[in-house]
Amino acid sequence: MTIATFPPEPKPDPGWSRYFGFCTDAKVIGIQYIVTAFFFFLIGGLLAMVIRGELITPASDLVDRAVYNGIYTMHGTIMLFLFIFPVLNGLNNLLIPTMIGAPDMAFPRLNAVAFWLVPIFGSLLIASFFVPGGPAYSGWWSYPPVSIQNPLGHFVNGQGLWITAVALSGVSSIMGALNFVTTILRMRAPGMTITRMPVFCWTALAAQSLQLIGLPALTGGAIMLLMDLSFGTSFYRPEGGGDPVLYQHFFWFYSHPAVYVIILPVFGIFSELFPVYSRKPLFGYLYVALASFIIVGLGLIVWVHHMFPSGVAQWMRNLFMVFTMLIAVPTGVKVFAWLGTIWGGKLQLTTPMLFCLGGLFNFVFAGITGIMLATVPVDIHVSNTYFVVGHFHYVIYGAAVMGIFAAIYHWFPKFIGRMPYEGLGKLHCLLTFVGANLNFLPMHPLGLMGMPRRVSSYDPEFTFWNVVASLGAFLLGVSIIPFLLNMVSAWIRGPKATHNPWRAIGLEWLLPSPPPEDNFGEEVPTVISRPYGYGTGLPLVEHQDEIERRLDLQEASAA
């Protein structure tokens, strides 16, 4: 009977050093990704604090105008390419193999290379602060011709470094996406058919397919931008017959889908966590899972909604408006499914659950402003104003980052082996929720009144809401203190976690905390039912009782 060998005897802790080297264990890489991402999050957040400090008064007084432009550009770039994508890839690394019962990713070496590119292009991007002329300043869209103006004329300049860094980020993301897709398609546990796969894996598959389809277009567009900037071609240069709007198509063909790359895994997190903390199965599992791919399909054909005022034909505007609005339908299916899940449940308002509920609240709000942006005449008025900035911070900070925090609190015990502190966690959640709403709600009236985004100074009539937003931003800055405190102290001396502290159902919870290097090794259990069987009494895998008993025994003997 092979079961006798599982779970394996705990090996001695390999120690901290592996986190600093080229390790091919997906669980180590996952943590490397997450820690690196939060390092950059602090830098991006610091830049956001400068932005809000500048905007607390109408005049351009805290920083010079050119500096302001560099700072908001780097804020957006760092937050997206160095924080949100890496942190999500970290979660993918931790969760995909353990959730599907694979010992590792399909290509462990490629995985490590993809990770190590992050600090490399991160340093490249940060280095652009120190080159003559300063960093890129043309926004995270880098629209030409501003982005190819190169005021000093140096060959090495902030904009060039920016393009190189973004291209490298694309290479890293494609490597990651190849790996995740192959792993999910080829390495699932026996019995785990595609319709028995946890929703997080569905959403990861959907999101990573978007990366594979979208990123190459951005890369192609970026190559042409770099050639215009550095080698004198004129793809986008109007004097040479080029077309600046062409770049916008390349950029948004990727960067619109990119927002679903961000939110889909967060939908996955919501779908995992609501059942656990409501003690009910996920409502309409199959619909929730399939909706992810409808979002992928629609997400690829809506990019022009970012270009309504930039001169596209009316029929095109209308077509893209209708597709954009349709995205609300599969998204609504998901939202209603989560409501159906918590409805009549037995809610446990733990830190992860509170983050999910707060995130859902913010997401629905942001989705509705998204629908407003999709309707052409309204978008014409609010496009490129703070209304848009409000929309996307609600969805990115209010929903995605809160969902990521939920995931971190939920899976911390599994992968670190210790429990985070509930009190600090709830404080973090409260400050985040209040801070985010105080920060981002005032941006909507500002945009409606006509305050453009990307401005270092503004007319005095906008002062009131800007002061409120800045105070909210500073509160958000403070909210990160309990989080960091919690993570550091829990990691060092938090109470030891059992293999399943939340009584959750899933393959990853049938592993010791933290899991051994090759997860189940050769002893992958056979999945016999759908995920989320809360209250049904159905075991997830064969010999589940036995596996759990052994884990309990092992924990008891270690204690």
Binding site: I174, M187, A217, M227, F235, G242
Partner: protein, 196 residues
């Protein structure tokens, strides 16, 4: 209960994933094709909206020599296919022969392109026509060069005893890549040389 219920399904010994490799490589090619798709659509868009497409003094592109080039490159898809067939029949000599022939045909294509480039009256800064022409042919040429290098690597590896005991070892992937490069060229040829 029996062992079979616990037999690890998709788990193989670590480090050997030739099955995964091919899956991964096919996904990669799909993704890579989007870069070309982006360039192609950019080319079409710039061309259809341009006021003066050709730079002053340029009449158009000569298409006869490139056509010969095209025929050579496309035929090499056939020779590499034959090479694979021979390998499947364990005829290593013919495998290596046809493999080398494919490499030579690829190299001839690159040579022909270099000759064409050096005879052109416009550079890559000559408006959007010059830019897209060199971008498309150059980017494709880079792929041809990569393909030849990969084939060279496979050829060298084929002399290592026991090379194929653990699977295809990249022969299939390389040939797939080569077909991909050929298909891209056909589209490119139609776009640039035929549609003038």
């Amino acid at each position: 209960m029996t062992d079979t219920t616990l037999t690890p399904g998709s788990v193989e010994a670590h480090g050997q994933h030739s099955g995964h490799n091919l899956t991964g490589f096919i996904i990669f090619l799909c993704s890579e094709s989007v870069v070309f798709l982006a360039f192609f659509s950019g080319y079409a868009l710039l061309k259809t909206s341009a006021l003066d497409w050709l730079p002053p003094g340029v009449e158009g592109l000569e298409w006869r020599t490139p056509l010969v080039n095209t025929v050579v490159l496309v035929s090499s898809s056939g020779t590499i296919y034959l090479a694979e067939q021979f390998k499947a029949r364990d005829n290593m000599a013919l495998f290596r022969g046809f493999w080398l022939l494919s490499m030579a045909m690829g190299a001839y294509f690159l040579y022909g392109q270099a000759v064409e480039w050096s005879g052109l009256q416009f550079g890559f800064t000559s408006g959007t026509f010059g830019g897209t022409f060199y971008l498309l042919t150059g980017f494709h040429g880079l792929h041809v060069a990569t393909g030849i290098l990969l084939m060279g690597l496979m050829l060298i590896k084929s002399f290592i005893p026991g090379n194929y005991s653990g699977g295809e070892q990249g022969v299939q992937a390389t040939s797939l890549f080569w077909h991909f490069v050929d298909v891209i060229w056909i589209i490119l040829f139609l776009l640039i040389y035929v549609w003038q």
